[in-house]
């Protein structure tokens, strides 16, 4: 019923795991000697840190898709924009230590014979400014894009496809060297962040903990939003948008608000991702990346938040594992995993967990009713 508890038992477990990881991982990687079996290598720390960023992206996506039925096939764009904002800060940190030793310009501008720093780059030497951009750029784009689209009542696949068009257009734009963001190569070869060597084990551990914290915070925010009456209106919109309007709710405001919030979360995820993987380039805008993010959510369990995060970590871990161990056959395994999850775990992994932990609960109906937003073909609805 209304005003449920914000954090379920599952949510608390999830937060506890994150807090524990945020504390334990730095200890295991910094204080435990490398020889010890409990030592965590920089490789492992960074890898898991990356998964956590993906998990935050998945969480952001689940917020709009799972609860409000907005299937964004362009969420990677917000992630990438956040990443670029962070990347630009990191580039400016290099200063005169670049290949061409130019104190004013990043290397790629020097070798393309540029002379002045483009306006878009101004201010990025400041960490505060850059962090503000991490939130503002994706947030503003989502707000403008979302406000117009939702006001025009673009829904369902139409919305999905224009979000895809958005990220695709950004992909092509960022490929262009003229854009001034490093073209296809993007931004890379970072040196330090806030004065700390970006490659040192300490910085890595700190970035890891920051990712844990961001994910935890993102989760608490998302859980609070979904537990509020606002969240229930979102679900109402998801299931019967026009009915919600007839009750007097301004659907476009709700959608734009949650879309913007979600985009900002994705931006933060991207910003944390970049220093850990060491590169940001237009490939992050690829539509396939955004589709994959949707898939993480579906694998974990749509509309569960925790499941989305879990799905992101699991699928990516699977990818890492399979590409290393079965480089020639990993696509069979990953593809098979996706097919298997849909066929055998219709509510995602978390659905399975639910079924196993609460065996006496009534079985879910064989055919879940289709929410109107999912209806690809518009369904006939009341007069």
């Amino acid at each position: 019923m209304p005003s449920q508890r914000i954090l379920s038992g599952r949510g608390l477990v999830f937060l506890a795991v994150l807090v524990a990881a945020a504390v334990l991982v730095p200890v295991l990687s910094l204080a435990v000697p490398p020889a010890s079996p409990f030592h965590l290598s920089a490789y492992a720390v960074t890898l898991v840190g990356k998964y956590l960023c993906y998990a935050l992206l998945a969480l952001a996506l689940d917020l709009v898709w799972g609860y409000c039925g907005i299937l964004s096939l362009g969420h990677g764009a917000f992630f990438a924009l956040g990443g670029y904002a962070m990347g630009m800060y990191l580039m400016r940190q290099i200063g005169a230590r670049g290949t061409y030793a130019n104190p004013n310009l990043p290397d790629f501008m020097v070798f393309l014979n540029w002379h002045d720093l483009p306006v878009t780059w101004w201010g990025f030497s400041s960490f505060t400014y850059a962090m503000a951009m991490v939130l503002l750029v994706p947030g503003l784009l989502a707000l403008v894009f979302g406000y117009f689209a939702f006001r025009s009542r673009v829904t369902g696949v139409y919305l999905s496809i224009i979000t895809q068009a958005l990220t695709y257009a950004l992909l092509l734009a960022f490929f262009r060297n003229e854009m001034g963001f490093g073209g296809n190569n993007g931004l890379t070869d970072f040196k330090d962040i806030l004065g700390f060597d970006i490659q040192s084990a300490g910085t890595r551990a700190a970035l890891f903990s920051a990712s844990c914290a961001a994910l935890a915070l993102g989760y608490v925010v998302a859980a609070a939003v979904t537990a509020s009456k606002f969240g229930q209106v979102l679900v109402a919109i998801r299931d019967a948008e026009s009915r919600t309007r007839f009750l007097g709710y301004r659907v476009e405001t709700y959608k734009a608000a949650v879309f913007t919030l979600s985009a900002m979360m994705a931006g933060v995820a991207g910003a944390l991702y970049v220093p850990q993987v060491g590169i940001i380039n237009p490939g992050e805008f690829a539509p396939a990346n955004s589709i994959e993010a949707v898939i993480w959510v579906a694998v974990g369990g749509r509309g569960t938040l925790v499941g989305a995060a879990l799905g992101a970590v699991l699928v990516n871990w699977g990818k890492t594992f399979f590409t290393g161990v079965f480089p020639e056959y990993w696509l069979f395994l990953l593809g098979g995993l996706f097919v298997g999850v849909t066929l055998f775990l219709p509510q995602g992994i978390l659905g399975l967990v639910d079924r196993l932990t609460a065996p006496r609960r009534p079985e879910p109906p064989a055919e879940r009713p289709v929410a109107p937003d999912e209806q690809v073909l518009p369904a006939p609805v009341a007069e």
């Binding site: 299937l71 894009f145 117009f148 689209a149 025009s152 009542r153 673009v154 829904t155 369902g156 696949v157 139409y158 496809i161 224009i162 895809q164 068009a165 958005l166 695709y168 257009a169 092509l172 734009a173 490929f175 262009r176 948008e241 026009s242 539509p287 396939a288 589709i291 949707v294 898939i295 579906a298 694998v299 749509r302 020639e328 056959y329 696509l331 069979f332 990953l334 593809g335 098979g336 995993l337 996706f338 097919v339 999850v341 849909t342 066929l343 219709p346 055919e367 879940r368 009713p369 289709v370 109107p372 999912e374 209806q375 690809v376 073909l377 518009p378 369904a379 006939p380 609805v381 007069e383």
Partner: protein
Amino acid sequence: MPSTRIVAALLALLAGIGAGLGAARAAPVDDALAHFAADKFPETDVGIDALVASGAPTAPAVLGALSDGRLFFDPGSRKVYVVDAAGTLDDAATGAKAADVTQGGLKKVRLNNAIRSKIAAAVGGLDLVSPDRTKRLAAADTAFAAHDAKARGAVEAALAKEEDPAIKAMLVQARAAIVAASGTGPEAERLDAIATLKARGDGDALNLVDQAGAAPDASPAVKAAAASAAAAIRFTLAVWQALQNAWYGLSLGSVLLLAAIGLAITFGVMGIINMAHGEMVMIGAYTTYVVQQALASSALGGASLLVAVPAAFLVAGAVGIAIERLIIRHLYGRPLETLLATWGVSLILQQLVRTVFGADNRPVAAPAFMAGSFHVGGLEITAGRMWIVVFTVGVFAALQIVLRATPFGLRMRAVTQNRRMASAMGISTGRIDALAFGLGSGIAGIAGVALSQIDNVSPNLGQSYIIDSFMVVVFGGVGNLWGTLVAALSLGVADKFLEPFAGAVLAKIAILVFIVLFIQKRPRGLFALRGRAVEA
């Protein structure tokens, strides 16, 4: 083809028209041929001149062989041989069979583009008086393109003899081109040339008119005539250019349509977010490859593409049916999960093809009827593209008939609109679903046949069309086949009108932005179904 050309050249030689070629008949052919055996381009170049000058009866044959890469030499003896079409060796000097020599010890006389051009010019001069009409026409065309002052005599000689009006006109143009390009000669002749070129009205003519106008000693009258002719030609060209862009747009649009049309069924009508659609296209393309390989040596080799169409339909359709029965079937009522499952299927199919055929591209040859291009006025239309447009129209029409005029089409639409009720009406939903998905996949496979003609046949083929396909179906309005048609064509045309001044990348970005904005205006696509029936 080469052999007829040689015959023609020979006839010309024997008739003694080769502008002084006959006189030098006694010159030692062997000397000329020796240059070919030096295995150096400058020597080869000299050899060609010497051979033409020698007037040897075997010269055309040798030159033909050289340009076709059939001229060999023995590095030891420095003797030169021609390999004829049947693969036997002839002594280049005498034309006699060289029975005692084998190809194994011989080296090919190497060619480059400069040499190819030279041979073409040498052989082309001979062709101007060939008895073969098409050959003369081609030679006149070449003479126009080359507008080489040295050829003026040959052109005029040919003009005097020529009776065919089309060729005559072409020769007149060639002479005009020579006059215009040379920038010399009496004023009347120049004005005449400008008028001829203005009537021709293409890009080459424009260049030549400009050259005539810019000649150092051009009189004011010539200058004025050239300027007005240039303006007139520019206008004509602009008109043709617009038409040309429209054609490019149409042909791009029909490729988009072909790629999207199967998706218009599996996604548009059935509501399955079919991420494996591109892979069905890919399977069609690989089927084309396999069919072509299998038929390569058989009598059907030339028609392999025609065989590939039904084959691709069946193969992709069968794969589609298998996917439907094994996976999709369990997902009706959960449309979003089809996204997840078909994405998985798409990964599996890509890797499967990569494992079976390898990661690299497979070659698919174009049949003769799809090669080359032809002109309609100032329009250049490439045969391959034209056939794809025709093919697309055919597929579209056939599909419309199936969907609108057969019980299957009606049942399919009923099933996808309300599965439970359709079943209660006695429609076997399982069968219809499988067939419908099979149909959509089969059509995607057919698209693959056409795409194998213009794109890579590689495991990634499908990936490059999937986004565009969804874009087209959605832009047109989901569930509306006509919408898909109009969307594909208009996106194609818009792209091709933007590309010339925005560049390919910006044009593509502009199109995407346009789609985003357009959907704001029409949130259910171009041809949105309206009314209570579709209200959500």
